[in-house]
């Protein structure tokens, strides 16, 4: 049996919806219409992308200005091997590009055949995405201006595009290797064998189930293994009426509660079944119902649920008082 701490791959992914607001909303509307807009500061400098306020002194920015799709590389880096998150799968450059008519450079991609083709001072032109939705990447990137190509630009006129969209979705996915730790791994492996293994603090004798590694009162490692029976008391509970992801199979409403195992000093959250939800109460004595061996693993889901044991109720106020005394000790 391995005693190495457990590791579990874990992906945290969810879409953020970003409201664009009046300033960036118009900038993105411009990109959707293949126009690049900036705003003029009090001293005449043109900020691209536009801001609401001048970062130098906080003064509000004023007039909208359309700038050229042609510009100059101010600094750059060549990415020979793009990462999974990068906007390209083949070699490209990130660059700060200052567009003609703008006073601030913006970060974007420059597509070029090789590293040597991108340098400070390089003249580039905007390349547009085919599908544009009011997003930074409506501007697909920049490419070197071919020799002899014109780079003169005349703005379309005074009219400024209206807001195209008020929000966009920013998807993110983060990949982790979550490490349970030494103490928790012992506990989790115990669950695979239908055993509750906790750890006792060698100083204050509190028993932690599940143990995370330290006694949160004494700031020392919980080092003594303790095995507990699968019986305990409901300390507090709630009735769930909502469909909870991963619990769709449960008939609603259902109950879950904090169960304090006999001999433990830390309760944990568990599903309570085997009686009508209105019968669930603090002080109710319960016992663990384990899944079949083949269904169990190093996870609390090895416990199918807790069910009433039929014993007389425990005195919760007594349990609470005992725990308070421990904390004062």
């Amino acid at each position: 049996v391995s005693t190495e701490p457990l590791v579990e791959p874990w992906t945290l992914a969810f879409p953020y919806t970003r409201s664009t607001g009046a300033t960036l909303g118009r900038f993105f509307a411009g990109l959707a219409a293949q126009r690049i807009l900036g705003r003029r500061a009090v001293d005449g400098r043109v900020f691209v992308p536009p801001l609401e306020h001048d970062p130098r002194d906080g003064s509000p920015l004023g007039d909208w200005v359309e700038v050229s799709p042609y510009g100059t590389v101010e600094t750059h880096t060549w990415i020979a091997e793009p990462l999974s998150t990068h906007p390209r799968t083949t070699p490209f450059a990130f660059a700060m590009v200052r567009l003609d008519g703008a006073d601030t450079p913006l970060l974007h991609v420059v597509d070029a055949p090789e590293r040597e083709a991108v340098f400070t001072g390089l003249r580039v032109r905007a390349r547009w995405a085919e599908e544009r939705t009011g997003h930074l990447r409506d501007l697909a990137g920049f490419e070197p201006l071919p020799p002899g190509a014109s780079d003169t630009f005349t703005p379309e006129g005074e009219s400024m595009p209206e807001l195209a969209s008020r929000s966009f979705v920013y998807p993110m996915a983060l990949h982790y290797d979550v490490r349970a730790g030494h103490a928790l791994s012992v506990h989790l492996r115990g669950l695979s064998e239908a055993r509750f293994l906790g750890r006792r603090c060698p100083r204050c004798a509190r028993v932690y189930v599940p143990p995370l590694g330290a006694c949160s009162v004494c700031s020392i490692a919980v080092s003594e293994d303790v095995e507990l029976a699968g019986s305990g008391t409901v300390i507090t509970f709630c009735i769930v009426n909502l469909a909870v992801r991963g619990q769709e199979h449960l008939e609603r409403p259902f109950a879950c509660g904090n169960v304090l195992l006999d001999g433990a000093d830390t309760p944990f959250l568990a599903l309570l079944q085997g009686c009508a939800v209105k019968e669930v109460r603090a002080g109710m004595r319960v016992r663990a119902v384990w899944r079949e061996p083949a269904e169990r693993g190093p996870s609390l889901s090895s416990v199918r649920h807790f069910e009433p044991s039929g014993e007389p109720d425990a005195d919760v106020s007594e349990l609470v008082r005992r725990r308070k005394e421990l904390h004062r000790a």
Partner: protein, 353 residues
């Protein structure tokens, strides 16, 4: 200004991957620093933890990490979602208010669970930067290139700064153990990761933890034989937008040094939080470092970049140089944000005498 001293420090050895969990990584470091302080744990009146849940991938991971500091029953406790050097600033401010006379500052640098290039872009402007997902190496490379273009350094100089830091890290017993290129020629044969930066130029990400205990002057004199005094602490921040500041400079570092009334001539050691070689050259210029000042004897980020702990580790290194009698006045630098956006300087001095 109320006088405040560092009375104890502790630091874990940096490792690529620590096999246990966050609490188990922090616990020995907290125990060591509390023991060294000479104060019972419950006598330390304020605690603040530097960490970021993005690195654990779990909501409220920072609350769980409190277990390591014996935070129950409830203590006066705080959390800073930044490097520990900034948490130290918070603790210093709390001591300035007179509400407390002691503080435990600890930083959790467990970087190995997540991936730098996935997590770091989430700290950027979500409208005009994050959708392109520029990773920290790429952003640093823009700054390095801007310096090269202005003649402030060249690729050879970058290679030499990297090598010098790797050599110093080799002599640092707490540094991450990494394969090091022999010389500048070997290093310059490495492929570019983000030109002009190569793999060896990027501070290696690792797991680590670090802690300090601060005390008021009265308490420090009572319990500590050789307190290290905080002579000044200043932080300044530049605009987030990469187009709104010169990337070959760090105006906020310069301003922080001015506010600190930093006298480079008196400085024995400058522990700079550098994650890329050009940052050391850039900061040396902004801070006006003199040739006699020893820069980052620990090897800086090349001793291991345990995110959220790397800056506080510089404070510990700067304090230990004084404890070991190798220096009278030392500076610790830390930064946050893309391309040295935010900079904090902590000036440390030996006991008067």
């Amino acid at each position: 200004v109320r006088e405040v001293a560092i009375i104890a420090t502790a630091m874990a050895k940096n490792v690529r991957v620590y096999a246990g969990n966050e609490i188990e990584l922090l616990l020995p470091v907290v125990q060591e620093v509390v023991a060294a302080s000479g104060l019972p744990r419950r006598r330390i009146q304020f605690t603040t933890l530097a960490s970021s849940d993005f690195w654990a991938g779990q909501a409220f991971a920072f609350v769980r990490a409190l277990d390591a500091a014996g935070a129950y029953p409830v203590l006066d406790d705080s959390h800073v979602d930044m490097d520990g050097a900034f948490a130290l600033y918070e603790a210093w401010v709390r001591l300035q208010t007179g509400e407390v006379d002691s503080a435990l500052v600890y930083a959790l640098g467990k970087s190995s669970a997540g991936r730098l290039h996935e997590i770091a872009p989430l700290g950027l402007d979500p409208y005009v930067l994050a959708p392109l997902a520029p990773d920290p190496h790429s952003l640093a490379a823009l700054s390095a290139r801007a310096m090269i273009d202005r003649g402030l350094c060249d690729e050879r100089a970058l290679a030499e700064v990297t090598l010098a830091n790797l050599r110093r890290a080799r002599d640092n017993p707490l540094a991450l153990e990494v394969d090091r290129p022999q010389d500048a020629d070997t290093l310059q044969k490495q492929p570019f990761l983000a030109a002009p930066l190569r793999a060896a130029d990027c501070a290696p990400v690792c797991d680590g933890a670090v802690a300090v205990v601060l005390a008021s002057a009265e308490l420090a004199r009572e319990v500590c034989e050789r307190p290290v005094w905080i002579r000044g602490i200043e932080q300044r921040v530049d605009p987030h937008g990469l187009g709104h500041r010169p990337l070959h400079e760090a105006p906020s570092a310069r301003l922080a040094a001015q506010k600190l009334a930093l006298d480079p001539a008196a400085l024995d050691v400058a522990e700079l939080m550098c994650l890329y070689p050009h940052e050391q050259l850039l900061l040396a210029r902004e801070l006006g470092l003199a040739p006699h000042t020893r820069v980052s004897p620990s090897g800086s980020g090349w001793a291991g970049h345990a995110l959220m702990a790397t800056g506080l580790s510089r404070v510990v290194e700067a304090a230990r140089a004084i404890e070991r009698d190798e220096a009278r006045l030392t500076l610790a630098h830390a930064s946050a944000g893309p391309c040295l956006q935010q900079n904090i300087l902590t000036l440390l001095g030996a006991d008067h005498g």
